[in-house]
Each structure stands twice: as C-alpha cells, then as structure tokens.
Amino acid sequence: MADGVKPRVRVPDEAKAGEVIQIKTLISHPMESGQRRDDDGNLIPRSIINRFTVEFEGESVIDVAMEPAISSNPYFEFEATVPSSGSFVFTWYDDDGDVYTEEKTVTVA
C-alpha cells in the first residue's frame, strides 16, 4: 500500500428525488509516474491509482481509467443524479492491488 492514502469525498447529506448533485473527490496518493529518477539516476518504478469508479446502489455514475499523467493526489469533480435515498460507493484501484473505498449516504426527504 502506498503510504498515507486517504480518500476524501464531498457529497450533500440530503437531496430531492431526481436532484442533480455535484460530487468532488480527492485521494492523497503520490501517483509515481515511472518517468522520474532518484538521486542515483535510477528510474523510480511506476506506482499509481489506475482506476476510479463511483456507483450509487450498484448503478454506475462514472468510471475513470487513469494514466500516470493524472496529477498526484488525484482530484475529480462531476455530477450525479440521486433517484432515491441510498449510498454512493467510491472505489480507487492501486497498481499494487490495493483497493480504497469510501461510502456516502444521501437521504431523499
């Protein structure tokens, strides 16, 4: 596991049925590109998050295939429709096989 990986997501707690909400996500991760060299001139091996997905109650919102050109601490902003009360599940897939998840519940009044 890359050190200090911490996901953060911003989702409103409540919404109206069918409302469009904006979601912002950030995960602390170095996104080592595999292009950089250390002080001795050796190539630092690639180690990135290569995929990010968001689902609401099993239905897809967005699915991003990520390359080393995504900046460190990957940030994404997008919009989702909230059909009913339920949970958004955010998943980040690391090159090293680790998977980081975060869940946010939205209540439709």
Partner: protein
Amino acid sequence: MRRIETMHVTRRDSLALGLGAAALAALPLRAQTADANIEAAVLDFTGDAELKEGGVTLTAPEIAENGNTVPIKVEAPGASEILVLAAGNPNPEVGRFAFGPLAASQYASTRIRLAQTQDVIAIAKLGDGSFARTSQEVKVTIGGCGG
C-alpha cells in the same frame, strides 16, 4: 606535416558532420514515435471512425505555470466516454472517462501533468456512436514529468 594537417581537418569535419546528422535524425524520430503513440491511442478508442468537430469541449488554461498540476475540464453532452490525451507527454494517454446511467451530465474536472508546452486533446464518443474531437494548446512554464 601537411598530410597530418589535412587528416586532422578531415577527421574533425567528419565528426562534426556525424554529430549533426545524428542530431537531425534523432529529432524527427522522437516526434514520429509520439505521433504513432497518439495515433494508436486514438485508433484504440475510435476504431478508425471519423472525428468531427463540435460536441465536445475542453477547458484548460492557456498558460500553466506548473505542469505538475494543470486543471482541465471535459464536457460532451450525451457522450458515453471521453478520452483525454496530452500530445507532448512521454506517454500521451491521460485518462478515459466513462459515464454511467446516473451521471447527471457528461462532464468531469481533474488535474493533469504536462511535460512541456503542448496540445491537450479530448475525443468523445457521443450518444449516436459518432466521435467528436477538440484540442487546446497549453503553454507550460515548468514541466511536470521529470524531477
């Protein structure tokens, strides 16, 4: 004596010529490789379909002081997927955004790395299955790939 001098000049000339030729050969080769990489990435995404203008927008700064974190936004109403490429990076692929049924709009913002001043390209697969392309040049003051 004269003979040696002649030889010396000849060797130096040929060395200079050789270096010049090597430099000339190296430049287009690098550009060609980058072009081929972009072409391969586009082909993989579009399956050689025609790319039309309009239908996809890319918002990026004209000048990015720090190439390590350049904010971009891509948007293509009704699109199922948007591919983002950076033509001047060692590896042109940046990311591929697939929008699901609960995406309220087909837009996404993120931050990307740009190694140098270059064109950023966005290609969208639209709702009718056609493809749209746009690009924008971003001038980079400090590149974002090496140390």
